[in-house]
Symmetry: C2
Subunit: 184 residues, 2 copies
């Protein structure tokens, strides 16, 4: 394991592969093009994936069908409503900020993101976790990151362990990989 | 691997165990009580350990003898002179800031620490690394940390990958674990 050929997304995938078992229920809170949904479906028993854009659901549905995946529930709703659909999950996975390679004017917003993370923390068991890749930069991306970091710094360390991984000398706002573990 | 029962020192030891082979030469730049020297001696072929305090050398010598260790060179000199003693090493290990559990008025100073890290980067090969646990806080510790972080952020990302691990929601200045890898 060296960090040279890694980035936040690759670190998150390594973490997911190490920590998810094939009898777990998992949540992809930010479906997007469905790549993390696909990974989670291959690792877990059942996956709930959320997006507010119809287009995300249709392209994810196609990707899953192409890969013979049948254990996903694709839900057209905001991730901050996830508790209406899932009562308990080993983990909840977020990609926050702009869509990598996509339209940088479409951002997630920290107020709903933070509500969704709070909901996620409610449904994970001890030893469960929330994984976050934070893409920032652009016009409004620093504000989201700073709000997110302030929220994370304030989480009770008796209940949660927040680990922040930062590619500290990379230029152009390198994404952060953050894990929130619920202490056992 | 969960982070709940970890800290910067434990993360650094996990990293060292994964990345050091028994034919490597390693450097402990901050000998202190010799615990990292002992770990490195058990992992590597040969270890060069530095401290400017006679007391560090005598207590480390005792610890190594108790453990039947014979592959260490204990050197009474500042770590920023390490190139006078070692021409090439797989890794150089630092514990910077106050001595954990020790006298918080004795700090390493960022000017000599940064010179020593620069010397360390000169003697490691591609795929070699520098490991740093940064203990900060107290009267002068934030200044050292901030100088160190500014230096790290400025390292050329084409030559080096700097990964910062931060226990982001822990109180009381939780130590940082930083790895600088020389890109291959």
């Amino acid at each position: 394991m060296t960090y040279y050929d890694k980035n936040a997304l690759k670190l998150s995938h390594e973490y997911l592969k190490k920590h998810i078992n094939n009898d777990d229920i998992c949540v992809d809170a930010t479906m997007g093009r469905g790549r993390d949904t696909l990974l989670l479906c291959n690792l877990a028993r059942e996956v709930y994936a959320f997006d507010i854009q119809e287009e995300a659901l249709s392209s994810t549905k196609r990707l899953l069908e192409e890969n013979g995946i049948t254990n996903a529930h694709l839900i057209l709703d905001s991730h901050h409503n996830l508790k209406s659909y899932v009562k308990s999950a080993k983990c909840v996975v977020f990609n926050l900020g702009f869509l990598p390679g996509g339209d940088h004017s479409i951002f997630s917003h920290s107020d709903t993101s933070i509500k969704a993370i709070e909901a996620a923390l409610d449904i994970i068991p001890p030893d469960g976790f929330v994984s976050i890749c934070s893409y920032y930069g652009g016009d409004t991306g620093f504000e989201e990151r700073d709000n997110l970091l302030a929220f994370l710094a304030g989480l009770d360390s008796k209940k949660y362990t927040v680990m922040l991984h930062s590619f500290y000398n990379r230029p152009n706002c390198p994404p952060l990989f953050i894990v929130i573990e619920k202490n056992h």
